[in-house]
């Protein structure tokens, strides 16, 4: 009997895959160039297909409390452009789409435009949540703190309070949060316009507004963040995308000193954190 198990499993997998394929709607292939352009200079940077693997066997299990998000999390895969789907640009207004085209052409010519992160300034939002480096979440009364390895960025989410009436624009903005059931809903505003939405260089204004819905999935072994981006200045409409982060209790985020040199640069899609 036991000899037959692998065969049965394999057969079941094939059947399942075929059934799933048959039922899934035909998906357009992922665009390799911005807006499916013919221009090779608008080639998009390919994603890092796998950043973090599952925690190794024997690692500490995540807390059973769905509201306990504490620990180290690491994004599952990484996209350079943050639209509603992989390879799809944010719904930029035409004048801002032209700026994105300019930045992608500059990069493909080997002369990428410098941005805030080139300069060791914070990455901005939502870009910071799309980083191939681990994130430590710490929860204390009234506050959820996201300590990002990348460039020692720290996001503080203040719980159950409104945004201050007067906000000085900043790189990571002002974030307030509340629990809706077991989902942490984070509202971020007050961002400056010195950063981009994503690594490719999609523009946002100081009127960008983000809503994130973070919850534990897969028995707490992944964190899901549904991010909705609104910007009446640069976008034609709001849009959303979803990211997942793996539970990685075995990882200690490293000291990251952009100001010296980046010694944690990813290699073959895996962060070489020292």
């Amino acid at each position: 009997m036991s000899k037959n198990v692998p065969f049965i499993t394999a057969a079941a997998t094939v059947l399942f895959c075929c059934a799933a394929q048959a039922q899934a709607p035909a998906q357009a292939p992922r665009p390799l160039r911005l807006n499916n352009s013919d221009d090779p200079l608008l080639t998009l940077t390919p994603p890092i297909g796998r950043v973090a693997a599952d925690a190794p066997p024997g690692s500490a299990p995540p807390s059973a409390n769905p509201r306990d998000l504490e620990g180290v999390w690491w994004i599952s895969r990484f996209e350079y452009m943050l639209g509603a789907a992989p390879g799809i640009a944010p719904p930029l207004k035409p004048e801002y789409m032209r700026i994105l085209e300019r930045r992608i052409r500059a990069k493909n010519r080997g002369t990428p435009e410098a941005d805030a992160s080139t300069d060791c300034r914070p990455h901005g939002m939502p870009r910071l949540m799309e980083s191939p480096y681990p994130i430590r979440i710490v929860q204390t009364p009234g506050q959820v703190t996201l300590m990002h390895e990348v460039a020692h960025n720290i996001r503080r989410i203040y719980l159950d309070v409104p945004h201050p009436e007067k906000l000085r624009p900043s790189y990571l903005g002002n974030s307030v949060g509340k629990w809706e059931g077991d989902t942490l809903v984070i509202d971020t505003t007050g961002l400056n316009d010195k950063t981009y939405i994503d690594d490719e260089g999609s523009t946002h204004s100081t009127q960008i507004h983000l809503v994130e819905r973070i919850r534990k999935i897969k028995e707490g072994r992944e964190l899901e963040d549904v991010i909705t981006v609104t910007d009446p200045v640069t976008l034609t409409e709001p849009y959303s995308f979803t990211r997942t982060y793996k539970w990685r209790p075995d990882v200690k985020p490293a000291e990251y000193v952009c100001e010296e040199n980046n010694r944690n640069a990813p290699e073959n899609g895996v962060t070489v954190a020292k």
Partner: protein, 231 residues
């Protein structure tokens, strides 16, 4: 009936706080703290001079002379490199402590620098050499004893330019002062390559209730245009 009430209380508690509770027998250092009484040069307990070895005294004298002339170019912090330790504990800018059962995060306002102190883990045997070193700690009664080692030698001990080497080891004994309004840090500095003997300084910090940490971006303040590389 009592059990039902207890159960109800537990359920309410778990809903109210998402995170695991702290050990109630330990003091809670969580909050934002600011140094009481800033001095650029490190005054020892008893106001004696740090027991510098001759070579280190020479380096220190050169740095002090440059600073006196307004020349900060030798200060690693002038190019936004991390201030290092214990310098970050000696600055006038506030820091935040997030206390948890397995770690304490010290998040400094200066350039948003984080320092995570891991509880009940053996001291690092790594020798990679970090700006802030590697910190482990244990609770000894009401005192948090923090061991920090594995430093590089690129930072200064304080704003006045006291030198250190990679053999630097810090032992901090952190306690709440009576009334819990102040945090006291007794910092013992050991660095046999630069100092004749271990020496100790004490600093006090006051709480800043309701203070929201502003976003401090060093690179913006020095008007940089490219990542700085160590020469």
């Amino acid at each position: 009936m009592r059990q039902v009430l207890l159960l109800a209380a537990l359920c309410t508690a778990s809903l109210a706080s998402a995170q695991a509770p702290l050990d109630p027998s330990q003091p809670d250092f969580s909050g934002i703290w600011r140094l009481v009484g800033y001095h650029a040069a490190t005054a020892l307990d008893g106001q004696r001079a740090p027991p510098l070895l001759p070579e280190a005294a020479k380096v220190y004298a050169e740095r002090k002379a440059a600073l006196a002339k307004g020349d900060h170019s030798a200060d690693p912090a002038s190019t936004c490199l991390p201030e290092g330790m214990p310098r970050l504990m000696l600055k006038a800018e506030p820091f935040e402590i997030l206390q948890r059962p397995t770690l304490l995060a010290f998040n400094y306002q200066i350039n948003r620098l984080p320092r995570v102190v891991y509880l009940n883990q053996p001291p690092s045997t790594d020798d990679s050499g970090y700006y802030l070193g590697e910190s482990t700690a244990t609770w000894q009664g009401d005192t948090l004893v923090v061991d920090t080692r594995d430093f590089n030698d690129l930072t200064w001990l304080d704003d006045s330019g006291l030198p250190h080497g990679t053999a630097l080891k810090l032992t901090e004994r952190l306690q709440l002062a009576p009334g819990a309004k102040q945090l006291v840090d007794r910092i013992t500095i050991e660095d046999p390559e630069n100092y004749k003997a271990p020496w100790t300084i004490t600093r006090r910090y006051e709480r800043l209730p309701g203070y929201r940490m502003p976003e401090d971006v060093c690179a913006e303040k020095i008007g940089s245009s490219a990542p700085r590389r160590r020469k």
